[in-house]
């Protein structure tokens, strides 16, 4: 009894001691804050704030421009003047014209813009600093409608679900393939996923680089990668029953990895199209279809030696392909660059984790393991095919 109390005391004790640095830090912070600018004055003068806005989005509505701006700096920033094509224009601000740190507002400008023409938008702060956004071509911003909703769903289905389903038609062929060839195709899946993961990662960093420094640097991306990698590891452990995931379980993991990536792809398509940066032509859609058909192959390979129902296959297709539709909806009708950066980080982490699972499977089951020529060539082929077909989606 006494020993137990003592151990409780010592347990409480270390927690209390752990608070000491926190309290000391609070005191130090207080001292610096009350000191004001005196500390900086010792070494020089602070430069004035940049007073530049972060122009996040320019929407083209009938007879109207809507400019979404954010204050990326520590000091307040006031919207004082708005130019369109180097001309001062009347405007109203939805919300406060003075923006606190990382606050956003929407500027509404009545304006007869010319469809297809380049246009520049300038927002001037009260200190006279003008931030200019050049838009290559003015295109009407789509507004949410049943038609548009359905359209994005169809496009998402065409570039996401259909090719994955078509890719699964390789299953009968794979079933007849030798073990060596099958391990080659599994390695092909790993190569494909590495490609997708790296693609998502570079997109995540690109998105993050466009964010104001106040919204977290590369840590945001790392957080996304780590979260999904660990989440997928836990899921793989559960699906694999403690051992190496195989069969439908492994196919599900691959599907999830691909699905998270395809969500990002849909997001990018929807967002780029909505801001007039993407020509959503036949060429692009067909390009994405060819690009994504290999993803179906990636899902088929793990189940080549297992019994699997048609329903399960359909489920796998939906897990991998349907997120494209969700992404296209989200990208087309909303804009959140913070979520996008985080999201592409998540996609990268998921893809990399599935690479680990597939690699483990190949190491255990392939004749010759990871060093077999089939595995090496398959892995390289996965990357090469994704790269080559990716050109079509460019």
């Amino acid at each position: 009894m006494e020993a137990r109390t003592a151990s409780l005391g010592s347990q409480l004790g270390w927690r209390l001691w752990a608070l000491v640095p926190v309290l000391a830090l609070a005191l130090a912070v207080g001292a610096v804050v009350t000191g004001g600018s005196r500390l900086v004055d010792l070494v020089g003068t602070n430069p004035p704030p940049a007073d530049e806005f972060d122009i996040r989005r320019v929407e083209f509505r009938p007879g109207e421009l809507r400019i979404v701006v954010r204050n990326p700096q520590r000091d307040d920033l006031t919207i004082a003047n708005v130019n369109v094509d180097d001309a001062i224009v009347p405007f109203t601000v939805e919300g406060s014209a003075t923006l606190g740190r990382l606050r956003s507002a929407t500027i509404v400008v009545p304006f007869d813009w010319v469809e297809g023409d380049p246009i520049s938008v300038g927002v001037t702060s009260s200190t006279g600093i003008q931030t200019v956004e050049e838009i290559p071509a003015a295109v009407a911003t789509p507004e949410p409608s049943a038609r548009g909703f359905l359209g994005y769903a169809l496009i998402g289905g065409l570039v996401g679900i259909l090719p994955v389903a078509l890719g699964l038609l390789w299953l009968p062929a794979l079933r007849r393939a030798s073990a060596a060839w099958l391990s080659g195709f599994m390695a092909f899946t790993a190569g494909l996923l590495v490609f997708l993961g790296l693609d998502a990662l570079s997109e995540a960093f690109e998105q993050q680089a466009a964010l104001p420094p106040g919204l977290g640097g590369s840590g945001l991306v790392l957080l996304g990668v780590a979260l999904s990698f660990l989440g997928m590891t836990a899921l793989a452990g559960r699906l694999g029953g403690g051992g190496t995931a195989a069969g439908v379980a492994l196919a599900l993991l691959v599907s999830i990895g691909i699905g998270v990536h395809n969500f990002g792809e849909g997001l990018a398509i929807g967002a780029s199209f909505a801001v007039g940066e993407l020509q959503l032509g036949t060429f692009l859609i067909v390009g994405f279809m060819v690009h994504n058909v290999t993803e179906g192959l990636g899902i088929a390979a793990p189940v080549a030696r297992s019994r699997v129902t048609l329903l399960a296959l359909a489920g796998l297709v939906l897990v991998a392909g349907a997120p494209t539709i969700l992404g296209a909806w989200l990208g087309g009708y909303t804009s959140s660059d913070v979520l996008a950066a985080l999201f592409f980080g998540l996609a990268a982490g998921a893809a990399f984790q599935v690479v680990v699972e597939v690699g483990r499977y190949v190491a255990h089951n392939a004749p010759g393991g990871l060093r077999s020529p089939h595995a090496i060539v398959g892995f390289l082929a996965g990357i090469a095919v994704m790269y080559a077909t990716g050109i079509l989606a460019g």
């Binding site: 004082a80 003047n81 001062i88 200190t127 600093i129 801001v275 993407l278 020509q279």
Partner: protein, 340 residues
């Protein structure tokens, strides 16, 4: 500067020609045909989405709709010059100019850290009759060395080039006013471009021995403000506030001669101009000599100036602005309100 969203697409697009298989070519062609078809559809079939609103632009930039700073009489001291005095050689005309740094609101909510004579940009109008003895006491209460360089005929040591006046010091310029005409004064400390575009300039009228015919007299100094320091003006104004005379039209009478002393002190841009709507005027370059041009548009280089005489034919709002459309839409636009 546009954000790039579909990065992989762009990256790969650059590599596409390398791998352009026949299939790719075929697909590309199909895509192009579709795009061309879509485009043709725009022109004929439907009203462009951009035109759903009503009349916009300058038509709306009048009265309360015009984005200008301040109240209706704020710039009267700059617009209406002191009266001309009859010719009397040797009479002393004393002025005091003080260089002060001032934060000026040049457009609604936009503040410019200016260097000024007496707190305004342009500075006060200096007026004398030919052969008056001009005595201008200059005190520098600004943060940088300044001078006053007058255009006109005067001793070389009264030129505001060599006699730099340090902050806290003062200097009195004294010389006979000549020749008759419309001139300028401005700071000539270096760097010259900086000292001028910061706002150290003003109008300088020397009335001739034979007085000009009676008229409603106005002074208009054209200028610009580079608020973000990129060597290009962000705002253009007359007498220092963008769109001010669009918001508060200058009221004149149809029965009365209107005389405008017009000067160009715009920095960075080579020329500025004045264009009058719905009427013509006579223009006398520099306010000297006998040559008058009959026109509705005059162009002035940096530092050029002249005298306009207008007899309005009709009543109502007569627009005036720089005929450089860019300047007009960045604030250099206003109206005469002609009444009976």
């Amino acid at each position: 500067m546009a954000k790039k969203r579909l990065t992989r697409g762009r990256l790969l697009a650059a590599a596409a020609p390398l791998a352009a298989a026949p299939l790719v070519g075929k697909l590309a062609l199909d895509g192009r045909e579709t795009a061309a078809h879509d485009h043709a559809g725009h022109g004929s079939a439907r009203v462009p989405a951009s035109h759903a609103g009503g009349v916009r632009g300058h038509a709306a930039m009048v009265g309360a709709e015009a984005p200008a700073v301040g109240g209706p009489r704020d710039l009267d001291a700059l617009l209406y010059p002191p009266p001309a005095l009859p010719y009397r050689p040797g009479r002393v005309r004393a002025y005091e100019l003080v260089a002060v740094d001032a934060e000026l609101e040049i457009a609604p909510g936009v503040f410019f850290p200016a260097w000024t004579y007496n707190g305004t940009v342009p500075g006060p109008v200096i007026r004398a009759t030919e052969d008056d003895l001009l005595r201008v006491r200059f005190r520098n209460e600004g943060s940088h060395p300044h001078t006053i360089h007058f255009h006109g005929i005067h001793p070389a040591n009264m030129d505001g080039v060599f006699e730099i006046v340090a902050p806290g010091e003062e200097l009195t310029y004294e010389f006979p006013a000549r020749p008759a005409g419309f001139h300028l004064y401005h700071c000539h400390a270096t760097p010259l471009k900086k000292h001028i575009h910061k706002g150290l300039y003003g109008a300088f009228i020397i009335d001739p021995r034979e007085p000009r015919p009676p008229a409603q007299e106005l002074v208009m100094v054209m200028n610009g403000f580079d608020t973000d320091g990129d060597g290009e003006n962000n705002f253009y104004t007359v007498n220092g506030r963008s769109f001010y005379y669009a918001r508060y039209p200058i009221r004149v009478r149809r029965s009365q001669l209107v005389r405008v002393y017009l000067a160009n002190l715009t920095e960075f841009d080579l020329v500025n101009s004045f264009h009058l709507h719905a009427d013509f005027f006579r223009y006398q370059p520099n306010g000297t000599g006998q040559h008058w041009e009959y026109t509705d548009t005059v162009m002035q280089c940096q530092g050029q100036r002249g005298v306009l005489e207008i007899e309005f034919t009709g009543t109502g709002l007569h627009m005036f602005h720089a005929h450089q459309s860019e300047f007009a839409e960045l604030g250099w636009m206003g109206f005469f309100e002609v009444v009976d």
